[in-house]
């Protein structure tokens, strides 16, 4: 399971519709399959004796602009649509999907999924009634109504700002991607959910070059917002930040090796996503492959560790109103002052554990059945100023910007990359260091957290667990008293 650090965005999509046509198509989703149609699909799905069925119909419009060498390399635009039917029989799941949005194709998918069971139909289909939610992902400017020229302008602004930072900036590569997802979930218990989720994604890769020395810099911005995203995600600032990171790292030296204190700057929440988050996804608890199995109520971190997963934070990359099974997105306390309080659940694991589903059953697309996934996972703030934490650390490392991470949920061993880091010497920031990796064991590292700041920020990522899911991880500035730094000096 990993929290990606490469350019894996939403699927690259393309289409053939004008924005007006696209908007018309979106409206039509519930018209292609009305509730009677979905009810008859669910009936087909349970025709062979399944216990439960759901159907997920999805349409995603995506525009992608690839830009490098100060040129628009390509423009891609499009529509990805399809529908999946899931049938549960005891612990077994049957799943089938189709790409054509026709009743015939969807009914065939339902009868394929139904084959997980064999026998006469047992369950009735409850009358579908709409489940509603407060909108946690409102947007004002539908990007489909914004001209490509304006999108290219944002990209060009970032490129110019990056190149203006330093003559040693040798290359800048930018990816702009917007998507607009509409979907319907309906299940045999009568749940019916229809929703619309925007997503913006903007990344800048800069390379600084001095002689034969090259150093990368990288900035990623992403949120569930419309084109108004750029009003407080200034593309020029993002371009300059990526370029400065690359330039700073030209003067870096190899990271030290061994155990030492590490101060994580605000935004280093990926550590919690990896170190404990994955282990608290209840599929690993159900299958008893997570090291956190049976540890509810036990101490799994220091008193400074209060960890939440919250799909309802407004407009973050990991936010949503409903999960991929139609359960309301929620805010959950996972760990409170070091004590393990709850796991994250989908419908299957919630039933197994005898708890309410927590709205963490997510799917990458109509091609995938739901899995237990995180949304926005973050460490609650503490009382300290960031400067106090650095000053209180005589020697160690200040990790300003983290890259991705990875965990083995059975052993709890995790690793994550540090993109931009500095030595701390006598409580002050020193030279930049290159190639640092931090490794540890989830619960052991959670016990080593001894200082927490008040300055939380969030980092957008794409989490891989056989399927990709947009997530964020958040944390304030914090100190880990002792952790292994994998450098080469």
């Amino acid at each position: 399971m990993s929290f990606d650090d490469v350019l894996v965005g939403a699927p690259v999509v393309a289409s053939f519709l004008s924005p007006e046509e696209a908007a018309a198509q979106e409206k039509a989703l519930s018209e292609i399959f009305n509730r009677d149609d979905l009810t008859s699909v669910l009936r087909e799905a349970l025709a062979r004796g399944g216990d439960f069925a759901d159907v997920y119909v999805e349409r995603v419009f995506t525009t992608t602009i690839s830009y490098s060498e100060s040129k628009v390399q390509s423009v891609r635009y499009g529509l990805d649509s399809g529908a999946g039917v899931r049938v549960l029989k005891g612990d077994q799941t049957g799943y089938a999907y189709c790409e054509a949005l026709t009743k015939g194709a969807l009914t065939r998918a339902a009868s394929t999924a139904a084959e997980i069971a064999s026998g006469p139909a047992k369950q009735k289909i409850a009358k579908l009634s709409v489940r509603s939610s407060v909108n946690h992902v409102p947007f004002t400017v539908d990007p489909l109504t914004v001209s490509e020229k304006e999108k290219v302008r944002a990209v060009e602004t970032a490129d110019r700002a990056a190149r203006a930072v330093d003559p040693r900036i040798a290359q800048v590569t930018i990816q702009y991607q917007e998507s607009m997802q509409t979907y319907i979930v309906a299940n045999s218990d009568g749940v019916y959910v229809a929703d619309k989720l925007p997503m913006m994604w903007f990344t800048i890769d800069a390379v600084a070059r001095d002689g034969d020395k090259r150093r990368p810099g990288y900035v990623r911005q992403s949120a569930r917002r419309g084109f108004e995203f750029f009003s407080d995600n200034d593309p020029a600032a993002a371009g300059a930040k990526a370029a400065r990171q690359a330039v700073v790292m030209l003067d870096s030296r190899p990271a030290p090796m061994g155990e030492m204190p590490v101060v994580l700057a605000s935004g280093g929440g990926v550590m919690f996503h990896e170190a404990v988050g994955h282990g608290l996804e209840a599929d690993g608890i159900k299958n008893q492959t997570s090291m956190f199995t049976g540890k509810l109520g036990q101490r799994v971190g220091s008193e400074h560790v209060t960890l939440l997963d919250d799909a309802t934070l407004p407009n973050l990359r990991g936010s949503y109103n409903f999960d991929g099974e139609g359960t309301l997105g929620q805010s959950k306390v996972l760990i409170e002052r070091g004590i393990l309080k709850s796991y994250m659940n989908d419908l299957l694991t919630a039933k197994y554990l005898g708890v309410a589903p927590s709205g963490n059953g997510r799917r990458e697309s109509y091609r995938n059945y739901p899995l237990v996934r995180m949304s926005n996972t973050y460490l609650a703030t503490g009382p300290l100023e960031a400067e106090e934490i650095i000053t209180a650390t005589p020697n160690g490392i200040y990790a300003k910007e983290l890259g991705g991470g990875e965990v083995d949920t059975s052993s709890g061993n995790f690793t994550f990359a540090v993109r931009e880091a500095y030595l701390i010497q006598d409580g002050k920031l020193g030279a930049p260091i290159l190639g640092a990796t931090l490794i540890g064991n989830g619960p052991e590292t959670m016990k080593q957290i001894d200082m927490v700041g008040k300055d939380i920020s969030y980092w957008p990522g794409t989490c891989g667990k056989g399927q990709w899911a947009p997530v964020t991880s958040g944390a304030p500035t914090l100190r880990i008293a002792r952790i292994t730094v994998g450098g080469r000096e």
Partner: protein, 452 residues
């Protein structure tokens, strides 16, 4: 698969709409995924999928669109949109599509029997694999799922220069994750195999036992002290070196001057034991195909020959810019992806030694079995290598206690130069594969005090 003629029809429409060049990449096929847990089928997922990815060039400006709707009325709309979108891009003289028509070659990459092998038999395979893992050792208390997947279908590339190439291909594979437990600690061991033919997958017990053995071998692992040591990479761990190198070997990154290898063509970078291929024509290679994602004949490309950097991997456009020929390395994930440059069967050539002899000739060092986080810093500009690792300590030429929660670090050129032993155990169970090899010295970072 009765779509013959559709590409030609579509390409004519593109010419009529004012496109100078256009390319239609069509895939159609079926997928099946199975997951078995605790002796029974836990999940089955299946679908018929298909679609077209279309590149359009107007005035040397490029657009990409895709569709899964093959109706002619919908495709007429596709043509208009693709031509309009291209207008938004910047002209580039190297935005061109391949002209040369590839020769037809017969390759053994399609298993016509695959779909007629019953799902029941595939489920039985997984059950047997799981049972073999559980039977391997008392410490193996569970298996975290066994998986089977297959894809079976047809690929066609056609462009307005008259290039048309169609082939059938199948892929199937299995994977097992065994979990061993001791004293409250858990370790996972994995084994898997990808191939074109169901009957080329090894017996289920072989992979089940392999996964279980790897999990058991790591039980009770802990850190060792920081030090510089030789590292023997098992094939499961050693592929990370090639994976980390691949972006720097891509011709587009060389063209953009972002590859740290860009100016080093012809230089001796690795030891004499380092010969690395991207071979699209490898018999038994799971990634072997007759033509690449834009219809250029695949090749056996030697990237490093006895340590000398010989070639970069190019697609058609990047090769034009570099004034060389495409190496047949255009790849795409599926029809939804615009083609890019990637490796085919990508491997380090095997050596003459036995893996055991390499361990025997190592006095004190690390045997790396499982790497994690190695991919995080990958960039064509960066030659740093750093990864968390689990494995066994090598003491006096023998595998000793398990170790974990340590990292190893070096630079990619130093690792290539430091390879001083390569074994003969290369097997193509994945497109990216290496034999066991040893790097003379790497920085190992672990516990501060010596726990030995």
């Amino acid at each position: 698969m009765a779509r013959s003629g559709l590409s030609e029809w579509l390409l004519e429409r593109f010419s009529d709409a004012g496109a100078q060049e256009a390319e239609v990449f069509t895939v159609e096929g079926t997928t099946l995924e199975l997951q078995v847990r605790e002796g029974k089928l836990e999940r089955i997922s299946q679908a018929q999928t298909g679609g077209m990815g279309i590149r359009t060039i107007v005035g040397r400006k490029l657009s990409f669109v895709y569709t899964s709707d093959f109706s002619r009325s919908s495709l007429d709309g596709v043509v208009k949109k693709a031509v309009a979108l291209a207008q938004q891009a910047t002209p580039d003289e190297f935005n061109q599509l391949p002209v040369d028509k590839p020769r037809r070659v017969i390759m053994d990459i399609f298993d016509p029997e695959l779909r007629s092998i019953s799902t029941k038999r595939k489920i039985e395979y997984l059950k047997e694999m799981e049972a073999a893992a559980l039977a391997y050792d008392k410490a193996v208390k569970k298996v975290d799922g066994t998986n089977y997947f297959e894809y079976w279908g047809r690929v066609e590339v056609a462009n307005t220069h008259g290039l048309v190439y169609t082939y059938n291909a199948s892929t199937c594979g299995v994977n097992v994750d065994a979990v061993a437990e001791k004293d409250g600690g858990m370790e996972t061991g994995s084994a898997g195999w990808n191939t074109r033919h169901f009957n080329k997958i090894p017996a289920p017990a072989v992979l089940g036992r392999e996964a279980a053995g790897k999990a058991v071998a790591l039980l009770g692992a802990g850190p060792v002290a920081s030090q510089r040591v030789p590292v023997v990479f098992s094939p499961d761990a050693g592929f990370t070196l090639l994976a980390s190198l691949s972006q720097a070997l891509q011709g587009d990154n060389v063209n953009k001057k972002v590859s740290f290898l860009g100016e080093r063509l012809g230089e001796k970078i690795g030891s004499d034991l380092v010969t690395i291929h991207s071979n699209g024509r490898l018999p038994e290679g799971p990634a072997s195909i007759p033509v690449d994602a834009e219809g250029v004949a695949t090749t056996d490309l030697v990237l490093f020959d006895k340590g000398v950097l010989k070639n970069f991997a190019y697609d058609y456009s990047s090769a034009l810019r570099a004034r060389t020929k495409s190496t047949g390395n255009a790849v795409r994930g599926d029809y939804r992806n615009v083609p890019g440059i990637g490796m085919s069967n990508y491997y380090l050539e095997k050596g003459a030694q036995k893996p055991d002899d390499i361990i025997k000739s190592t006095q004190n060092g690390l045997y790396a079995m499982k790497m994690s986080g190695w991919w995080m810093g990958i960039s064509p500009a960066s030659q740093e290598f750093s990864s968390a690792v689990s494995g066994r300590w090598i003491r006096n030429g023998e595998l000793a206690e398990p170790v974990s929660r340590i990292t190893i670090a070096s630079t990619l050129p130093e690792m290539l130069a430091g390879i001083d032993a390569v074994a003969d155990d290369l097997e193509f169970r994945n497109p990216l594969r290496v034999p066991t090899y040893r790097v003379r010295e790497m920085s190992l970072s672990g516990a501060t005090e010596d726990k030995k």
